[in-house]
Symmetry: C2
Subunit: 768 residues, 2 copies
């Protein structure tokens, strides 16, 4: 035999050597042993066999660090072990040393005490004390697991009915409509194709009466504001371009006529708005002023000579920007402009301005630009509108809160221009409520897709056993289940908001509803952005394919955090609402009124902490709703009092209120968020406590715990800073969140099924 | 006069009344006063004027809660004040009461002590102690501010040169190439148009020699692996479809031939790969196995009779999925398959398989599907490949680490199949390094756009003064500036990674480089996703327009967190690398080797805390680099020791290592993240300390403080739980982060300019 071709190692056939086979195989298979370690193992084995020279020599051949087995020799060793093992009962449960001893006995050799000890030592040197390695060697092929998700422990249909609430029938009808083939998703359409499709589908929904749900019965409508909102929430399980097109036409354009106009406007316009015969725009934002609406610069000057209002865009920054329905379809626009009568400016008012003729051509004096390609919502034709002395009759002023008579006399029941402005805007809060709901519907879709994927997709696993479902990994539970809890919590908080919105029309309570809507809109849409992102990542590359829905969910809903009020601006409104105790209009960003309320507020002190409670950490305590709500309320109260004190100090010291609030801005945002979270928990807890079915209540109680504790956990830095939690308790809360995730996990699929999203509206079945 | 038309209130002309005008105006303008409050004010004013009946009567008319002024009367009052005020010097700086007194004096009336006191009382009742209200009344029109950004305090070009490093010339050349009109962005293209454009531009870059940068000089290449990586980093400022197409062709397909093949493969294929004459794929992932590559199921069986390898897809789940260049352009693929020789399976190997003929038709036995529309990167033609007994010559096996001779003898210098697998994969780490860099380039683009927008866009402001730039709001600074700091920190950490990658070829250090690459890839791509999202929101609706770049930045980079290794899986690799102290291959997910290292690790105890240090909170201490790096290292050490202890307890108790690590998964992920952050800080601090220019160093020292303290702040819950920070110190760190944001803010524009992103590659100039 030439030195170039060393003798091939054959697996030992001597029964005395069989006991060593599994350990030898693993020593080389591991790939992690250094030469030194191999030498150590070799030495120990040699000791065990030193009174048996042939055995020793065979082992030395297999364990020579200078000449490791070739891959083929190594594979043959494994084949030999497998040939011998089938006769052994429960071989997969043995350790490597045990397996070796069994193999030897199968061949008729019973190793002595000393041999056994040496083998055990080697096993220990390899760090292999348990049964897993034998399983890995003997069962390299993993059977594909059965689909074996645990069943629902509660009445899923019953929970869907509860979530649907009083508009269940409408929602069910919409689910059927949206599941029709004509509403099926299409991917990769060009912008103009998407716009055409969106208009076509919006008209189909209008034919089904969806557009008129909120309009007065006198003009053929349903007369129920909350019905359109429920429809909007349900449509948000589907294509968001269609959703936003519907929202612009019926919610914003129709809603502005309904809320800011009077009966004459309703009769003249709403019937044609409801059928989409008169497609319209809501032209509020300008290039220079998005959030700061009070300062917008379009002018509507009253010309008493002709009884007309003359609409003008004074400069490019004052053009109406980002206006839905403007680039392609709109015939008329509700234009917000500074109203000037006889040389006096009365602030922002809304009036109806025709923008296109019957053939779709822009009317004289109206310039229309296309905003072009957007991140998403490309089925909505956003555009820019400029007006060059466009004249409309005096009657086109939407005059519920202010009017101009023929002689040019301006009248309004509200003296203050600022207050008038906010009363007008307050009537439009329905849009904000609707976006909050749509955000949560989008989060529901993302979770439904991601949770189902996570129980079907398996990756990695212990040797010899099926790969593990993603949702059985704790980090995957952490990604999805606290967000599932938040989505449920928000559902009930938003349901409550809609009810209060419906109850509060015209009442003083309206201001509190506006604050709540602002806070929940911000919280819900950020939650949606975050949940969709996490869901996408949790589905890996599959989540990146358009057919699996995350692409459109992400791109389309991304602007939810911006439109109907930028979230950061909205949270500042919430903080100001809290600072003024809702007594007043909270909107006015010049803060003239703020200072008056600070003195009283700053004096309020937060409840003293009970040192025992800051330490208690048993499960019963942590799952006590009183502890949870108490913690979130305490945080809110503390942030409110300390903010009031900080502002008062600054203002007392001669600071400008605007600057004072700017300086405390992050504090104010933290307060607003804390307020929203304690409100959401309160509503979730109340709704869960009111559930009739005990099994459903039990499952949702755990979700409610998960919501509350994951919120406290995520802000545990603050709670510790302020002495509310000791370190050990903070850790205990983290552990509880882990435990609750594990408890909720078996019911995750039933819980997302209960959202009642029609299968046709969810992702394509993902190939696994 | 009829009772229906009450007398119109005219602004008082009596000089004695002038003092009250500003207060009366504001009382009604505020819109926040209740009737009771109006009555109180009225009473006080009445007291002041009770010895002057005509005066008292006039005031009563203006302050009758039963009959508030009409809006026109209210406006006339304002006009009257403005008529009188221009004669006053510095009127805008006065309080309302002061303004009133000045107005009275202008008209020749000097109010007495008692009158002055009453006016002051009313002002106090209104809560208006400062000067802002007078300004608001007198200067309602806000001048458009000048562009007045502070200049750079350091040499911006010098910093760009430093960031560019040794491949500056190549980067500059690429900047010029990518700024050419042919590379200009196009929005709203259909998928096939995008694919055609991407291929066309990739060919242009290949003509410029970019594709061959890393290939050996013998085949006409540049022979420098880091040059292609630098090009990739620079190209990531531009279209990411083009970037990924380049990465697939030259980095993955070309890289697999370079790293896994031998000289014959290099000579035969690389020249045509470099020119894109031979477009190719990297066919690793399968539908059923993305992350768990070791278990993939495509088979390559050696047929000794013909000397061919026979490639087969055994079932649908084993098809190659998501393969770039497959759907449209690829002619050949590097296919990863389980290699079977003479009935033995030797694990995953790579071989070259032609998939299309010269006319672009799939070859016999090859089935190609199109993955269709994706969230982004639609210029890359991802597809699915299935093989039905496709035969290729034996020589197509990429045989650097294993080969099959004619007779069917398999040879490899590495015995262990597992080790062989990870050595092969380790050579491909360049792809992971490149994606980490691309993620940070994308974050740079997002910050450059958002920061520039934030200094130009103004919204809201104190009365009478220009609206305020967004970046002057603390919450906006919080959104952008800590992320700017992280981006700089990552830049230097990644520069270091590339250097170590270049230095480590073939060395033992390679394992540590692989761990570092895994950790930085996960951290950088998550940072990019987060920063792009924040940047989009910080630009409001403008951020949603395609032309402003966030749409493509978001959609295209979203999959960076998934491809080249799912981030969560990568962080687990990092944790295992740390647990084994890098001594060994850390990849093997069956964890056979893990247990051996735990005993030693678990015994390590973390340094004791110094109780003084946990409390110290002065600025000098918090900005001390030693405190900052100490905190991050302590966290890492603590998480490592406690994880080792937890795992050891489980394994000693008979637990399966896989299950043990699963149970501790969130702990392992926290450890990995902590390790990455302390490494990043260490590299950032070292790079900053090494800067020659003192002014640049000074600015970057602040950024380094901001990075370090914002990282500690974001995990201050953990630091408090473990006694490292007391509550007061945690608060002081929060304050420092605020302060550092304010300090960095004036240099924010120069700092993003220093990234050196060509103007043509950034957003369209945003209209404000």
């Amino acid at each position: 035999m030439s030195p170039d071709a060393p003798p091939t190692l054959a697996p030992p056939t001597d029964p005395r050597l069989a006991a060593y086979l599994p350990l030898i195989y693993v020593a080389w298979a591991d790939g992690e042993l250094t030469d030194d370690e191999i030498r150590t193992i070799c030495d120990r084995l040699a000791t065990a066999s030193d009174d048996d020279p042939p055995c020793r020599q065979a082992l030395a051949g297999w364990l020579d660090p200078e000449r490791p087995p070739t891959p083929s020799e190594h594979r043959r060793l494994l084949r030999r072990i497998r040939e011998l093992a089938p006769d052994l009962p429960d071989a997969a449960d043995l350790s490597l040393a045990e397996l070796g001893l069994e193999l030897a006995e199968t061949l008729g050799h019973r190793p002595g005490e000393r041999e056994r000890a040496a083998i055990a030592q080697v096993q220990e040197a390899l760090g292999l004390g348990d049964a897993e390695p034998a399983r890995r060697i003997l069962e390299p092929i993993r059977p594909m697991p059965e689909e074996e998700e645990a069943g629902a422990r509660f009445d899923v249909g019953g929970l869907t009915r509860r979530l649907d609430g009083r508009h269940r029938e409408l929602r069910q009808r919409l689910r059927r409509i949206l599941s029709r083939p004509e509403f099926a998703y299409e991917y990769g359409l060009g912008r103009e194709e998407q716009r055409a499709r969106t208009l076509r589908l919006a008209k189909r929904l209008a034919e089904e009466g969806i557009g008129a749900l909120s309009f007065p019965a006198e003009v053929g409508g349903g007369g129920d504001l909350t019905a359109f909102i429920a429809a909007f929430e349900t449509m948000a399980f589907h294509d968001h371009s269609l959703l936003v097109k519907m929202g612009v036409q019926f919610g914003l354009f129709g809603g502005s006529i309904l809320q800011l106009g009077t009966e004459g406007h309703h009769r003249r316009f709403l019937p044609r708005v409801a059928t989409l015969e008169l497609p319209g725009c809501f032209a509020m934002s300008e290039t220079g002023h998005g959030s700061n609406v009070q300062e917008l610069e379009t002018v509507a000057r009253y010309d008493a000579a002709t009884g007309e209002l003359v609409v003008t865009t004074p400069h490019a920054r004052a053009r109406k920007d980002y206006i839905g329905n403007a680039a392609r379809d709109g015939r008329m626009a509700t234009v917000f402009a500074q109203l000037e009568v006889e040389g006096e400016s009365y602030g922002v008012h809304a009036l109806l301005v025709p923008i296109r003729d019957e053939r779709g051509e822009p009317l004289p004096g109206v310039t229309i630009e296309d905003c072009g390609e957007k991140m998403g919502l490309n089925g909505v034709d956003n555009g820019r509108l400029s007006f060059d002395g466009v004249r409309v009759p005096r009657e086109n002023l939407l005059d519920r809160f202010a009017s101009v008579d023929e002689s040019g006399r301006y009248t309004s029941p509200i003296t203050s221009a600022s207050k008038r402005f906010f009363v007008m805007l307050g009537t439009l809060v329905g849009g904000r409520v609707s976006v909050a709901l749509a955000g949560n519907s989008a989060a529901k879709s993302a979770l439904a897709i991601a949770v189902r994927y996570a129980v079907r997709r398996r990756q990695f696993g212990p040797g010899g056993r099926p790969e593990r479902a993603l949702l059985d990994y704790p980090s995957h539970q952490r990604r999805l289940l606290p967000r599932l809890a938040t989505t449920y919590a928000l559902h009930f908080a938003l349901e409550h908001l809609v009810q209060r919105y419906a109850d509060s029309a015209g009442s003083e309570d309206r201001r509190e509803v506006e604050t709540l809507a602002a806070g929940l809109k911000a919280y819900s849409t950020w939650h949606a952005t975050d949940t969709i992102q996490e869901g996408r990542e949790a589905c890996g590359g599959q989540g990146y394919l358009a057919e699996n829905r995350f692409a459109s969910l992400k791109a389309d809903t991304d602007v939810f955090t911006t439109f109907e009020g930028d979230n950061t601006v909205l949270l500042q409104l919430v903080a100001k609402g809290l600072l003024s105790g809702y007594r007043k209009q909270f909107h006015d960003l010049t803060l003239l009124g703020l200072a008056r309320y600070l003195a009283g507020r700053a004096a309020i002190t937060v409840a003293e902490l009970n040192p025992v409670v800051t330490r208690l950490r048993d499960e019963a305590h942590l799952r006590d709703r009183g502890f949870q709500t108490g913690a979130l309320l305490w945080r809110e109260e503390h942030l409110l009092s300390s903010l009031a004190r900080r502002l008062k100090t600054r203002i007392d010291g001669g600071g400008d209120p605007f600057d004072a609030l700017s300086e405390c801005q992050t504090h104010a945002l933290a307060l607003a968020k804390a307020h929203v979270e304690s409100t959401v928990l309160e509503r979730f807890a109340a709704a869960v406590a009111g559930l009739e079915d005990a099994a459903t209540r039990e499952v949702l109680e755990r979700l409610c715990d998960l919501y509350a504790l994951s919120r406290i956990e995520s802000d545990r830095g603050w709670f510790q800073e302020h002495g509310y939690l000791e370190g050990g308790k903070a850790k205990a809360i983290r552990d509880q969140v882990d435990r609750l995730c594990a408890e909720v996990r078996p019911q995750a699929v039933p819980l997302v099924n209960a959202f009642g999203i029609p299968p046709a509206l969810l992702a394509a079945p993902i190939a696994l």
